[in-house]
C-alpha cells in the first residue's frame, strides 16, 4: 500500500533520514520504533508531506504521494498526532465533522446526509457520542484524543498515520485507544502506520516493527525483533531484558535501571528471622529474594521476602486453598503479595533447618516432612484424587546469584536430594509397595539472594548444585526421622 524507496530528507542540508526502504501492506499495523532523535518524526513528516523529500520516492498504491493534491491525499490518509490543542470553543461534534472536509461537495459545502451518517458512526465507535455537544476543551485528555481519532476516522481513510497517539494518556486510555484502532484494522482493513514510544505496547498490537537508528532502519521485522536484547540496548542505551508475556505469546521488555542498589546485604545468616509456632513457620528476609516455587501462592519465579508454611488439619479440604492462605497471612500481618505460602498437616515443631557453607556460598534448607502419602512416581497406580495432607515442604535459601536457568537447575538438584533421601530411608509407596520418590503434594522453593557473580548452572555438576542436593538430602532425612518418631509416640499413646 505505502512504499518508501531510498527516502532521504530532513531539515536544511544535513538529512536526518538517510535512505529508508519500506513497504507496508494493506491492512497492516506497522510500528515505527526508535529513541528520540532517531528520526521517527522526520520520517513521519516526509510521509505526510510536511517535509520535502530530498531523494527517493514515497508512493501510495503505486502512485507518487507528492503528486496527490491535498484533498486527494486527505481522502486516503488520515493523521493523528499527539497535540490536542483546538482554539475557540468548538464542540466535539464540530471537530469530528471537520474530518468530512475532503469529502464535502457543492458550492455551499453543507454536510450531507451521508456525511452525518459517517459522523454518527465514528462517534458511536469511538464512544464520543455522549459528549458530542460538549465543548472540546472541557473534556479530558483521553477523551480529546478519542475525538481527534474520530475526526481522523471520519475522513474514511485507507491508511492512518499516528504520531505517538497515546503519548500523554494513562494505560486505560492508551489501551482503549489502540484496541479501537486494532479493531478497525481487523474489521475494515485499515492500514496503520504508527510511531510508538512504548515498546511493550508496540509488541502487543503491531504486526511488524521497524527499529530506526540514526536515520536508518536497523531492522524491520515481526514483533520478535523485540527479542533481540543486544540490538535494543545499542539503540536505546538501556539495559533490556526480553520476557514473554505470561498469557499471550508476545515479547515484553523489562528495563534495568543504571543506579546501584544502596542497601547491600551484609551477612546472609543475619539477614533473616524465623518465627515458628503451632500455626505457621514464617521466614522473613530483610531483602526480597529471587525465588522459584510451586507454593500455593507466590508460584513461579518472583522476588519474595516472606516464606511461610502453614499447619492445617489432617483432613483439611478446600477448593480454594490460596484464598485461605491469603486470609491467614492477613491475619498475621504478612504481606501476601511478597510471600510464598505452603501448607502441611505435619506438626511444625518437627521442622528441620540445615545449613551448609561451601567456599563463600551459604545454603540453608528448611524442611517439614510427612510421608503418609508417599508415592512412587513411576508406579502404574493412578494418581490419587483424595489427597491427604501429608507432604514434604522444602525451602532452600542460597546466598548466590542465579540466572533463571540456574534456578531451574537448582530445583532439579533439590528434588534429586529429596528423592535420594527417601530411597535411602526405604520409604515405600503403600499402594504399589515400591520405593517412593516423594509424596503426592510436595512443595519446593528455591530462594536466592542474587549477590556476587551470576551463575548460569546449579546442577549436580556444580559446587552449588551439589551443595543444594546435600543440604536437602540431610534435612529431608532428619525431618522424616522426626516424623517417624512422632508417629510412633502417637501409636503408643
Amino acid at each position: 500500500m505505502l512504499s518508501l524507496k531510498n527516502v532521504v530528507g530532513g531539515y536544511s542540508n544535513t538529512p536526518i533520514i538517510k535512505g529508508i526502504d519500506l513497504a507496508i501492506e494493506k491492512g497492516e499495523f506497522f510500528a515505527l520504533l526508535g529513541p528520540n532523535g532517531s528520526g521517527k518524526t522526520t520520517l513521519f513528516k516526509l510521509i505526510t508531506g510536511q517535509l520535502p523529500l530530498q531523494k527517493g520516492e514515497v508512493s501510495l498504491s503505486g502512485q507518487s504521494l507528492p503528486s496527490f493534491t491535498k484533498l486527494e491525499k486527505a481522502k486516503k490518509i488520515a493523521v493523528l498526532s499527539q497535540e490536542a490543542h483546538v482554539s475557540f470553543d468548538y464542540t466535539v461534534e464540530e471537530i469530528i465533522s471537520l474530518g468530512r472536509y475532503p469529502h464535502q461537495k457543492g458550492f455551499l459545502k453543507k454536510l450531507s446526509k451521508e456525511d452525518w451518517n459517517v459522523i454518527e458512526n465514528v462517534m458511536e465507535i469511538t464512544k464520543t457520542k455522549q459528549f458530542q455537544k460538549t465543548q472540546f476543551r472541557m473534556i479530558s485528555g483521553g477523551e480529546k484524543q478519542r475525538v481527534l481519532l474520530a475526526k481522523a476516522l471520519a475522513q474514511e481513510p485507507e491508511m492512518l498515520l499516528l504520531d505517538e497517539p497515546t503519548n500523554h494518556l494513562d494505560i486505560k486510555h492508551t489501551f482503549q485507544m489502540i484496541d479501537l484502532l486494532k479493531k478497525w484494522q481487523q474489521t475494515k482493513g485499515l492500514t496503520i502506520f504508527a510511531i510508538l514510544h512504548d515498546l511493550n505496547v508496540a509488541s502487543l498490537y503491531a504486526d511488524r516493527v521497524g527499529l530506526l537508528h540514526h536515520g536508518k532502519f536497523l531492522e524491520v521485522g515481526d514483533i520478535n525483533t523485540l527479542r533481540k536484547e543486544d540490538q535494543l540496548e545499542k539503540v536505546y542505551e538501556v539495559q533490556v531484558k526480553t520476557q514473554s508475556h505470561p498469557t499471550i505469546p508476545k515479547p515484553q521488555l523489562l528495563m534495568t535501571p543504571n543506579y546501584v542498589q544502596t542497601n547491600e546485604w551484609r551477612n546472609f545468616s543475619e539477614s533473616f528471622s524465623i518465627e515458628q509456632n503451632e500455626k505457621y513457620i514464617h521466614l522473613q528476609f530483610n531483602q526480597p529474594l529471587r525465588t522459584i516455587s510451586n507454593g500455593v501462592i507466590g508460584e513461579g519465579i518472583q522476588w519474595i521476602q516472606h516464606f511461610c508454611n502453614f499447619h492445617v488439619e489432617k483432613h483439611y479440604h478446600c477448593s480454594e486453598p490460596d484464598k485461605d492462605i491469603r486470609n491467614w497471612m492477613e491475619e498475621y500481618n504478612i504481606p501476601h503479595h511478597q510471600a510464598v505460602g505452603m501448607m502441611t498437616a505435619v506438626k511444625l515443631e518437627d521442622m528441620v533447618v540445615c545449613t551448609k557453607r561451601m567456599e563463600d556460598i551459604s545454603i540453608m534448607a528448611v524442611v517439614t516432612a510427612g510421608i503418609g502419602n508417599a508415592v512412587d512416581i513411576s508406579s502404574k497406580e493412578e494418581a490419587r484424587q483424595d489427597v491427604k495432607i501429608g507432604t514434604i515442604n522444602t525451602m532452600v535459601f542460597i546466598d548466590a546469584h542465579f540466572s533463571d536457568g540456574a534456578l531451574v537447575n537448582g530445583i532439579m538438584s533439590a528434588t534429586e536430594g529429596k528423592v535420594k533421601a527417601l530411597q535411602d530411608l526405604q520409604i515405600k509407596d503403600p499402594l504399589s509397595n515400591t520405593l517412593a520418590s516423594g509424596t503426592s503434594t510436595d512443595s519446593l522453593l528455591l530462594a536466592v539472594t542474587q549477590q556476587g557473580e551470576s551463575t548460569p548452572y546449579a546442577g549436580s555438576g556444580t559446587l552449588v548444585g551439589k551443595g543444594i542436593g546435600e543440604v536437602v538430602y540431610e534435612a529431608t532425612a532428619k525431618a522424616v526421622k522426626k516424623y517417624w518418631k512422632r508417629v510412633k509416640v502417637n501409636d503408643i499413646s
Partner: protein
C-alpha cells in the same frame, strides 16, 4: 432520531438569529434615517427611498431640501456606517479565526494603521494615480494595510517560530506605534488646517461622505466578503492548527493568503472611507461567537450584520449626544468597545479557571 431533531432545532435557532440580526440592521438603519435635527416622518423616508431606487413613489410635494437631506446625506451615511462596520467586523472575525487568536483584529494587528498611513499619504500629498482614478485612496490604503500586515508577520516569524498570540499582538502594537509616529511626522510637517483635518479623519467618521464614498467601498467590500465567506471551512479547520488542517486536506498556504487578502481588502477600504475605527472588529465577533459558537459558517455573516448595525448605532450616538456638535465615531466605538472587551477577557479567564 433524537439527534436529527436537535440538529433541526439548532438550524432553526440559526434561522431565528439571522432574522433577528437582519431586523436589528433594518431597525438601526431606520433609526439612523429618522433621528436628526430635521425630523422627517417615516412614510416620507420610505417614499424617498422607493422613489430613488425603483422609481415607485406615492407621495406628492416632497420639498427638494428634505429629499436631498434624506437621499444625499443620511442614506449614504447610514449605508457607509453599515458597510464600514460590516467590513471591520468580518475582517476581525477572519483574523481571529486565521490566527487562532481572540485578540486579533484589524486594529490590534496593525492593518488599520498601515491603511491609515496609506490614506494619510494620499490625502496629504494629494496623490492621484491616473490609472486608479477615484479609487487611488482605497487602493493605496489597502496596500498600506497589507504591507503593515506583512511587516507584522515578518516580525513575528523573526522573533518566534510559532504564531503565538502575545507575539502577534506585540508586533502589531510595535508596528502601529511606528506607523503612528510617521503619521504624526507627516502632520507636524503640514499646516494647521490640514493637521486638524487629518487628525479628525484619523479618529474615524462617516460624516459628510456622500454617495461617492459608498461607491468607493462597495467593490472592495463585496470582493472581500465573497473571499472570506468562501473560506469559512478553512477557518474552522485552522482551529486544529495548521498541520492538522493540512492533514484533513486543507491547502493551508493558499487559504491563508486568500483570507489575508480578503481581510485586508475589507480593512483597507473601510479605513480609506472612514478613518480608523477601533474595537468593532475585536468585540463584535466575540459577542457573536458567544451566541452562535465558533463555527465560522455563522460567525462570519452574523458578525457582518451585527457589526454594520452596531456602527450605524454608534454613528447615531456620535452625532446626537452633543448635538449640534459631533463626536468622532471612533471615540464612541472605543468608549463602548473597550469596557465590553475587558469584561469578555475577564469572563474568559474566569471560565477557563473554573474548568
Amino acid at each position: 432520531m433524537q439527534n436529527s431533531s436537535t440538529r433541526k432545532f439548532s438550524s432553526k435557532k440559526f434561522v431565528w438569529l439571522y432574522v433577528l440580526c437582519g431586523g436589528f440592521v433594518l431597525g438601526t438603519a431606520l433609526l439612523g434615517l429618522l433621528v436628526s435635527s430635521v425630523s422627517v416622518p417615516i412614510p416620507t423616508i420610505f417614499h424617498i427611498i422607493f422613489e430613488n431606487t425603483i422609481n415607485m413613489g406615492w407621495l406628492e410635494d416632497i420639498p427638494p431640501n428634505v429629499e436631498s437631506i434624506i437621499w444625499n446625506i443620511r442614506i449614504p451615511r447610514v449605508l457607509l456606517a453599515f458597510f464600514v462596520g460590516a467590513s471591520l467586523a468580518l475582517a476581525g472575525a477572519a483574523f481571529q479565526g486565521l490566527l487562532r487568536n481572540p485578540l486579533a483584529d484589524p486594529y490590534t494587528i496593525g492593518v488599520s494603521s498601515g491603511a491609515a498611513l496609506g490614506a494619510v499619504i494620499v490625502l496629504f500629498f494629494q496623490i492621484n494615480i491616473a490609472v486608479l482614478g477615484g479609487y487611488t485612496l482605497p487602493i493605496i490604503a489597502i496596500i498600506g494595510g497589507f504591507v503593515a500586515l506583512l511587516v507584522v508577520f515578518g516580525l513575528v516569524r523573526l522573533s518566534s517560530r510559532s504564531l503565538a498570540i502575545e507575539t502577534i499582538i506585540l508586533a502589531g502594537i510595535i508596528v502601529s506605534a511606528f506607523i503612528g509616529s510617521i503619521i504624526s511626522l507627516i502632520i507636524a510637517l503640514g499646516d494647521r488646517d490640514s493637521m486638524v483635518q487629518i487628525i479628525y479623519w484619523l479618529y474615524g467618521s462617516v460624516r459628510m461622505r456622500g454617495w461617492s464614498h459608498v461607491q468607493l467601498i462597495i467593490p472592495f467590500m463585496v470582493t472581500g466578503t465573497f473571499i472570506l465567506l468562501m473560506h469559512f471551512r478553512e477557518l474552522n479547520a485552522l482551529a486544529l492548527g495548521e498541520e492538522a488542517a493540512e492533514h484533513i486536506g486543507v491547502n493551508v498556504n493558499r487559504g491563508k493568503v486568500w483570507i489575508l487578502i480578503g481581510a485586508s481588502l475589507l480593512t483597507g477600504s473601510a479605513v480609506a472611507v472612514s478613518g480608523s475605527i477601533g474595537f468593532v472588529g475585536l468585540v463584535i465577533p466575540h459577542l457573536v461567537r458567544l451566541v452562535t459558537g465558533p463555527n465560522h459558517r455563522h460567525v462570519l455573516p452574523l458578525s457582518m450584520l451585527t457589526g454594520g448595525a452596531f456602527l450605524i448605532l454608534a454613528d447615531l450616538v456620535a452625532r446626537t449626544i452633543i448635538a449640534p456638535k459631533e463626536l468622532p465615531i471612533g471615540v464612541i466605538t472605543a468608549l463602548i468597545g473597550a469596557p465590553v472587551f475587558a469584561i469578555l477577557l475577564i469572563r474568559e479567564r474566569i471560565g477557563k479557571g473554573a474548568k
